[in-house]
Amino acid sequence: MADWSTDIDTKGYGGSSRNFAGLLIDPLVFFPTAILSLLVIAYSLIDPEGIGGAFLWHPQVRD
């Protein structure tokens, strides 16, 4: 096998996983994605027109 494949070290993976308030998460992946998801939902509730504009790809509407 090639060099990299003779000495595979996976110990680093999942090392940052934590038990956070009963949830089993990798904080560096969970929090950015969870927070942004909640922000998109919250922004939609606060400013529905704004979120529509933020995700408007181009003005031509097909539907």
Binding site: T10, F30, T33, F55, Q60
Partner: protein
């Protein structure tokens, strides 16, 4: 567009090369699922709702724009030439649904499976980059890849859920005259969320597998019904013709430079391909989880060719039946209906419209549950450092986060917002997939050398 082409070429080259003989999990590994279950799960997770949504509306849209000609039509259309417009409409539709998207899924699934089953690495996007970056993939670099993949998955899935909710509501309006409003869409999604939650609680075997197999049967039944009650002989002949016109127009449709049909290219192809890429981590991970024991060649063929053929069959029967109806005078007003209504307008022009529309709504809703369920499990795995034993409330969080984004984008900006969300997250991930090919190739070469 170039990314999609390169991913397709990569899959073909790997499948036909000696690397295709490598068995995922080692030479003694045996598949966990029968071919029928495997294929049902692949197809249902991959593009179920989308194919039902666009199976009628995309061919109809391309046909009407092709008849008019211009930049909005695929390859600038075939003005006032019904036969030419039909050919272009079907070639362009098939181009958006066959081979290329499945190549994107197959690349991701293959990478994940090779590094998980043959190198003992975690079933994670970052593992495919180990041959390139070494241990750095377990640090911030890998976290960045995972975050990008999770975002793409959330928005790709939310787009599909939005489309599914929109079309199911259109069907309910068509059948029961319940008007489509934000409250009714929210009510529908709330009911589906409850069912999906039960499916998530049941796990992959009891939940997704049973629903996927059930839905394949329902989809097959609806397909046969439209075939038998439509112009059957012509539709079957169209199947061969469509494959031919697709292959004939493939180089022009896949060409990313000097396009004159910018409307088609931007509105359809770019959107679709970004959407497919955003689905790649989710479908790829799902494919990898159920593909232990398949050879690389079998994996690529199963993941690329078989679903493409089924997609072409579906598009031919629904698309050509719709175009034939329009050419015959369009008594049902198919061409003027909105995208989400067109399936039901077509079914309305065939026998037993109440029954078949009800079945179609069930089909959409089951695809809705299977897609939402499997997507939630993948996001949960990616955000927990590869854990699959996370508590139910953690899975429930992602289930409602994805559903919430889908609902909000649908209610605030409609289809356009959903599409834009997919594109914003899908396109950056395309570059990650290209790099993933390099890592996978290094992995396969190492395995081949060892054999």
């Amino acid at each position: 567009m170039s990314t999609g082409n390169l991913l397709l070429i990569f899959c073909v080259v790997v499948a036909v090369s000696p690397l295709g003989r490598i068995r995922l999990g080692g030479k003694d590994a045996r598949p966990d699922y029968s071919r029928l279950s495997w294929f049902s799960m692949l197809f249902g997770a991959g593009m179920g709702i989308g194919l039902v949504f666009y199976g009628v509306s995309e061919p109809v849209s391309h046909f009407t724009t092709s008849m008019a000609g211009g930049a909005a039509a695929p390859l600038s259309g075939a003005a006032d030439d019904a036969a030419g417009a039909r050919d272009l409409a079907m070639a362009a539709t098939i181009f958006d649904w066959a081979l290329h998207p499945w190549a994107m899924f197959a690349v991701t699934g293959l990478a994940l499976a090779v590094f998980a089953y043959d190198f003992g690495m975690p079933l994670s996007m970052r593992s495919a980059f180990y041959p390139i970056f070494g241990k750095a993939v377990w640090g911030r670099l890998g976290d960045g890849i995972e975050v990008l993949a999770v975002f793409a998955t959330i928005f790709g899935l939310a787009t599909s859920l939005g489309l599914g909710a929109q079309q199911a509501m259109a069907g309910i309006t068509f059948l029961y005259q319940i008007s489509s409003s934000p409250a009714s869409i929210l009510g529908l999604i709330a009911i589906m969320a409850g069912i999906t939650f039960l499916s998530v609680r049941g796990g992959i075997d009891r939940g997704i597998r049973i629903l996927s197999e059930l839905n394949m049967l329902v989809a097959l039944g609806l397909l046969i019904f439209v075939l038998v009650t439509g112009p059957m002989r012509e539709l079957l002949a169209d199947l061969v013709r469509n494959i031919w016109v697709y292959l004939q127009n493939l180089p022009a449709l896949a060409n990313p430079v000097g396009r004159e049909d910018t409307g088609f290219y931007r509105d359809w192809s770019v959107y679709y391909w970004a959407w497919w890429i955003s689905w790649a981590p989710f479908v790829g991970m799902f494919m990898a989880r159920i593909s232990l024991g398949r050879t690389v060649r079998e994996f690529i063929a199963g993941a690329m060719i078989a679903p493409s053929l089924l997609g072409i069959l579906w598009l031919t029967i629904f698309g050509d039946a719709s175009i034939a109806h329009i050419v015959a005078g369009d008594s049902a007003g198919l061409a003027k209906a909105t995208l989400d209504q067109q399936l039901f307008v077509l079914l309305g022009a065939l026998p037993w419209p109440q029954f078949t529309s009800f079945i179609a709504i069930c089909l959409i809703l089951i695809f809705f549950v299977t897609g939402w369920d499997s997507g939630t499990l993948v996001i949960d795995t990616m955000t927990s450092g590869g854990r699959t034993d996370t508590p139910l409330r953690q899975k429930a969080f992602w289930l409602f986060a994805v559903g919430g984004i889908g609902v909000m984008l649908l209610l605030t900006g409609g289809l356009t917002s959903l599409q834009a969300g997919s594109i914003a997250t899908g396109l950056p991930l395309g570059l990650v997939l290209l790099l993933m090919c390099w890592g996978t190739l290094k992995g396969l070469l190492a395995l081949h050398k060892a054999i």
